[in-house]
Subunit: 339 residues, 2 copies
């Protein structure tokens, strides 16, 4: 069934999904509707559900079929077509690599090179455009320039006041770009005990809260770390529960997959991204039916001197770090072009 | 076909649509999907499209079938079941009455009775809860109380900063409650000339931008006023166009319906609600597939001392003034109950 999806995705233009020949049909339905019509086996449906939850941190019913097809096509590059498998695969896919030391090292390394030009702890409250300048107004600081790039998620942009106001179509796009729902959970053990039993630490299950796990042990082999994802509907349910209850349920999932030794971690860490002030969800923004058709052309349309970056504006690897990087280059070129 | 919809709607509990026996099936699909599967004639599909555009200022593909069914059931009261016809009908339906002098008279009359307690022109920027009090912080004013009621549309709530932060599920609900898209247009003539030709001033058309019109002439018979609605996709397209171009297209619609005399109005007024700072759309918020299932219980859940009103929280006549009124009474009772 992913073959059929890949073939459909290949016909959805990455830079303008709303111009696809069957855009009206695809954006009129949820991915759930397509799944029910085209996948008959319970096992096949379950695997698609799990794949969508892992990729979007949302449910098949939340997504426009057109958005999903765009996203699949976007998981390629100038020379390689995107495929559903490239999204979900470890070997050769988006889930293959981790950063030794954590992915924040990239941001920190870049910040070090930029020095004092990087200001943290100063959220922008307002963006004003007047007299040929654009100003980002923080609580104790105002930065003025000829062009500005906003790179927060669409769902976070409404926290900023714009003067002049955002035009109606952009304001309405921002009402229609929700973030996924995920809680990332890690249990730490003295050593990766599951390896002795010949287990990889990777599990997929139809029973939550953790339906997907990975071995997140550091490359030097210790301590042992099991990583579990609570995604989509499960995350929406579990984020509101008491921390102790959630921890117990996560550990119970690990015991189910890797045995009684998982019952007593030396440490436990978790992050519910919906609770995070400056993203209010993860991994990125996705689109329900109808949005690409009626608001798609707004996604990258500048607001005067304000340009839009962020992975949700990317045409290649939308939703990933690669897309964020590419969107930054595109927005920078756009701003430089009008300077 | 509306009989079938009404029967399905009757089984969707107004106060908890997500508990309906077939909630999963209904919230997994768009109304567009249901329409294509259940209505075969082009005429029937057109009428449903027009009805949805008129009621939600959105397209059938934008809406969860479950949300639409809830909305239909909500168009009743304690003794009367809701029906699709009650939503779209003039005689005996939601479109029957206008307020002589304009509906703002109600708000103004109530404000007069409340006197200085009503403060306008002071948008709330922050809502803080600490030491047993809740404070609404405006630019030049802070109001403190034991309980607070927020009655702005869900899509506008993110413009307010909350301390403590809104919990994840509510923050994510607010990302998923978009406003409809409508431009309301009025052309004024010396007299209601169409009446002389035996015309009501009401038109429905499959060609935009105005697909629905009404005679909005004041009760005393003059001047003549034609009211045209640009709704859903048409509104999303036309709100971004130059005013003169939009005016010409609206007048062209009126000429098409009522003859050459419509070509030269003495005045023309319009309001594109997506451009309006404190609603950013109209008539109200609607829900895409999946939202009621995973976020429905959040709609009326208080945030500490903050209670939620507004027509989007109503169980009866959700989306209408009646629903707004009822939601205010419910929220007030809720706040009084914990005082």
């Amino acid at each position: 069934m992913t073959k059929q999806l890949n073939a459909m995705a290949a016909e959805v233009p990455r830079d303008a999904p709303w111009t696809a020949a069957r855009a009206g049909e695809y954006d009129g339905q949820t991915f759930e509707t397509w799944k029910r019509a085209n996948v008959q086996s319970e096992g096949g449906r379950f695997l698609l559900d799990l794949g969508v939850e892992a990729v979007f941190a949302a449910e098949p019913r939340d997504l426009s079929l057109l958005h999903l097809l765009f996203y699949v096509n976007s998981a390629g590059n100038e020379s390689t077509p995107g495929t559903f498998d490239r999204l979900i695969a470890t070997a050769g896919g988006a889930q293959e690599s981790r950063f030794t030391g954590g992915s924040q090292l990239i941001a920190r390394g870049l910040a070090r090179r930029l020095g004092k030009r990087v200001i943290t702890g100063a959220p922008v409250r307002r963006i004003e455009q007047k007299r040929g300048r654009v100003s980002a107004v923080c609580d104790k600081l105002t930065v003025s320039a000829r062009q500005a790039i906003v790179a927060v998620p669409p769902a976070v942009t409404p926290f900023i006041r714009f003067d002049p106001l955002l035009p109606g179509p952009r304001a309405q796009l921002l009402q229609r770009f929700p973030m996924g729902s995920v809680i990332k959970c890690m249990a730490v053990y003295p050593k990766p005990f599951w390896r002795e039993a010949g287990l990889t630490g990777q599990a997929t299950s139809d029973t939550g809260p953790v339906k997907i796990s990975f071995d997140n042990t550091p490359p030097d082999g210790g301590p042992g770390v099991l990583l579990g994802f609570i995604e989509g509907q499960e995350a929406r349910i579990w984020t509101a529960k008491p921390a102790a209850e959630r921890r117990a349920a996560v550990i119970e999932s690990f015991v189910r997959y890797f045995g009684a030794q998982a019952a007593d971690p030396t440490a436990y860490y978790e992050k519910s991204w919906a609770e995070e002030q400056w993203t209010r969800g993860c991994y990125g923004g996705y689109l329900a039916p109808g949005v690409l058709l009626d608001y798609g052309p707004e996604i990258r349309r500048p607001h005067g001197r304000v340009h839009w970056a962020g992975t949700e504006t990317a045409t290649i690897w939308n939703g990933y770090m690669e897309g964020a990087l590419r969107s930054g280059e595109r927005a920078a070129a756009e701003a430089l072009g009008v300077l």
